[in-house]
Subunit: 344 residues, 4 copies
């Protein structure tokens, strides 16, 4: 075993905040670590962070949370598949019992089904406490499919994971039915702060968001995506906090909003598929534990609250990095000059 070392910076960069969220999981300034090979990410995100502090902080809110895995079975005919589907929908109590029995923190939320000819996809959705929950929900899906094959002997097993989940793959289903934390982070930036820190105007940011993030993503054939570089901040944050960074694929499918308000530029990021955890694989590494502790995400709280806190901090970090890049792009030449200065 060897170690791959990714440098990361945390002090005094990325001092975000204060981030305030409903229920006061976070209401303070936070310093965020980002692990990356792309060093210009640090000063860029940090600039956004300074704007957040100067503007009075970021407001974040959790819309939803669940982790999913879809089992896949086949029936002799579509008619039988539909019959089983209806039966399952009427037996959610049984499904809850079967799936929750596999893990101390797993809580059944719901199932959603799809039928393609005689194939039946059952998407299992669960709360998974402070874990991102990949394994927890796979274990529950294993129990579910075993039980289904017993209860409906006309079914045949195909896969414990049928890609209607959809793990680490671009999809629309994750945003529509939910996977991970669904978080919005928003702030209002007074015009003078926008000009001083970001060297641009609110109107230019509104403009580039519409023309690049919205129309640009649409003509590129994007799906449920309208942002400039959510992926960069997510990768750095995920590596620094021991997450499975392959989940930046669904995580990066999010949206930017920028519009003029009376008191300044309203700027928000919506991340419907932010998969994070504070326990589980990767969380035992020394630097990860230190980082999670530093972020206040290893406290003695009700199950799930540490992960929720981590999610809103991640969203706030994405906001800072996105704001800063969009601002830079409004000025011809600025992006390239920053890269050249910083990478030498």
């Amino acid at each position: 075993m060897k170690k791959a070392e990714t440098t990361y910076a945390s002090i005094p960069m990325q001092k975000i905040g204060p981030i305030k969220i409903t229920g006061s999981i976070v209401n303070e300034n936070v310093i965020v670590p980002l692990a990356t090979y792309e060093s210009p990410l640090w000063p860029s995100t940090n600039r956004g962070a300074r704007v957040s502090t100067a503007s009075g902080g970021i407001q974040a809110v959790l819309v939803d949370e669940r982790m999913s895995r879809s089992v896949l079975v086949q029936a002799p005919s579509a008619e039988v598949a539909v019959h089983v589907m209806h039966s399952l929908q009427s037996r959610k109590n049984d499904i809850g019992r079967i799936t929750q029995g596999t893990s101390r923190f797993a809580r059944f939320v719901d199932i959603h089904t799809q039928i393609v000819a005689n194939l039946l996809y059952v998407r299992l959705e669960m709360h998974t406490g402070d874990a991102s929950g990949h394994n927890m929900v796979t274990k529950a899906a294993d129990a579910l499919v075993t039980w289904m094959l017993q209860e409906y002997p006309e079914l045949a097993y195909v896969s414990v994971s049928g890609n209607f989940c959809a793990d680490k793959k671009v999809s629309a289903v994750n945003g529509i039915l939910g996977r991970g934390k669904y978080v919005v982070a928003e702030m209002i930036i007074p015009e003078n702060i926008c000009r001083r820190y970001l060297k641009t105007s609110p109107q230019q940011i509104i403009d580039i968001n519409i023309k690049k993030n919205l129309y640009g993503s649409i003509i590129a054939g994007g799906v449920r995506t309208a942002n400039a570089h959510f992926a960069n901040m997510l990768l750095g944050f995920y590596l620094a906090t021991g997450q499975d960074a392959a989940n930046i694929i669904e995580g990066s499918q999010g949206f930017v909003t920028a519009e003029m308000r009376e008191n300044g530029l309203y700027f928000a990021v919506t991340l419907p598929n932010l998969i994070v955890g504070t326990v589980g694989a990767g969380k035992g590494l020394d630097f990860v534990e230190e980082n999670l502790r530093f972020l206040g995400c290893k406290e003695d709280r009700p199950p799930g609250d540490n992960a929720r806190r981590l999610a809103v901090i991640a969203a706030a970090t994405v906001l800072c990095g996105e704001l800063s890049l969009l601002a830079a792009l409004t000025n011809p030449g600025e992006l390239m000059q920053a890269h050249e200065r910083l990478e030498r």
Copy 2:
């Protein structure tokens, strides 16, 4: 500055091959490093690697290569935007000169345009030698947009990057017009080897590929994606070789093929958007340099050949990991048991 440490394994795991490609960039056994927090990835990919060796190796081929960046400008009207578009299409020599002048290794390939009302998106595509080429093409795009604003004073600058690029974001354009290396890796697995190593039959792998990777991805609302977990192998490979791992987003948009041939199971992965480089940011870290050297990707070769070699090794690695997971999924319970055994 601190360090984020990701463990990785390379010996004796992932001995892939021999990988053979046209032009003999690789024609030997290769041992591949994968950096990950998800340790079950190693034995799983390694199982696929053992199958590859037992089956006589992997054949890989490079279909295309280019790196892209799309500038975004606006005209007073659609009519003017179209006029400029036509003019640009007739001035590719000028564009080649302007864009190649920015870097020693940059070679102009082509432009592609899109118009939305009065907005003009110009997607610049270049060869970038052994670099993945993000910065090289941004620098060239900077020169292009500066030149365009001089030559066509009726235009106004919007952004040096208009999301028709599309960097680290899900899209269809990257697969259709090309971004990064377009690689296919394929092999034929005799039935007895399939059964012995993978504990399953060729027909079961063919079956799960159709029902999970094809129909499952389609109903999930995926775009240009049909695989189980390309993202996992790409992330591990990218982190171990100093790549910008946020490019797993486009990299993971690839396809699996499995069909019966006379002499066994034909199994192939197609990765149209594999962004890798052997020089540039991240490549100077000690462990990265060691890994690239170990993979034979730091040799004295014509520009681009080291990166091409790295690309086909990456594709072969993806093939090994994908094959192994699909095989595991055909057996109820196998995936979960492996995770439980390995993560404890």
Copy 3:
């Protein structure tokens, strides 16, 4: 007012069946009218119909049904939007009462929400009896948004339709959450019948379905689509039965399945978004009424049963046309020769 005359043929073409569905809404041979400017559609679909009769008929099943409209409002902040969302989810009885009060046949099914920054999209889903239900659900949405603005004065109106519906537009949401009838039609074709009528083998149809309908649609950047020409049969059927034919857009987002069974080729079409009605706009025209009567869809049945019957007949028609074209495409030159012969 003038009349646009679209020729269509009805006798003796497209004799499909017998179509059998659960609950015996259809269990007999059916002759189907198709209105089209593209005359080769008739003999082609008819060939599939003859195969269906020779093979013992088509089995069809209704998976789900609902019509949707999404209202769009904005809150002062994401936090307020989430608060309203949670409140709405706990008041489904109120929403049912408000929305059902607008029409005799409307039955509330469910709501689904999405939040983008401070925007709240509420997708209302209803049963609409024998109507396709566009107007019924718009009327209900009108009542819903009016009520919401009264109950939650912090909200502001944006639109009674927010494109999360999504009417006559390509989307993934319609297939995932349901819009229109979700129907599967399937049959088993003995190999000798396949060869005699379709001049091809089951294996060739299986093969072309995978390579054209699945991989071909995926690389084209399709979303939730895997078929050759569902749109053609739907258009002809919709025009002949007085439907709003613009709904072929979501209707054509469906899937073909072809696989070998012991007793022949299993061939199925899945149409998750088939929007049809037997009452409402267009249904009063003389030829439409005659056609609906002829199809047995103007009988005195419980509300919704006439429309369900129409839906499964539409799906069976799509199956016949799709099967015939795929078969033709397996033989080089056959498609073009048929077009040349028939259009002269």
Copy 4:
């Protein structure tokens, strides 16, 4: 043979214009026929038409035109497929000769390829004069695949159409590589005209376009679509002018732009995939011929000019209908009241 009668209105509704386009194919007022079962479409589109006249007319421009068909062949291996692909790219003269030889008006434009494992998709793109060109390009594709199988005996035939075309199916490829006419129609509406005719403000139209057409379509999982109801106007226009209306599927994948200019609201529609023709199937019907003549699209002009004129008129019609619906939606209750008043 029977007739399906679709009523349509043309006088005095939908007096659009004047429409001006580069090269003066249209520069006059035009009265447009729309065939539909949904009668509210007439007054709505007509309202937009009246705005267009009051605002000084619509400016339209043709960005590109081509019709496509993709043949599909398979090679023994990916390596051979790539070899053939490179060979084809160097033999465009041969391909031009082979494909143009099949029809008097066919002009070879380009090919684009895709490789999935050992499958090779070759997308043939041609100019097809005044025809929409489905048959012309299929005939040429037939000749192409026959020639390919002769020249490269290692290839095997799969299909003359491989869904990378992509005909009457949702895709991203049609917008990125082009299929049909690519048209932009734009106008500037003075604020007082906006308020008088549309009972709304420019800002409200800008606002609803962003929140409904852009964000709403994105969260719905749309692909290359950002509009409210292009499909309705296209269907009516297609049926009235003898087009193959199943092409509204790609046709409806277009975008709306609305932004404030000094002299009023800039409002534009972009239709990258507008498939229309003035000759071919359906064009010989009496009412179709009359309509085409009435629209000035049966004149003695160079090949293609009649079809181009028809395309820009179609785009202008879409603009009028889209503008009117968006305006109506900004006023709570207006849409439903209009439907109720008009359908009784």
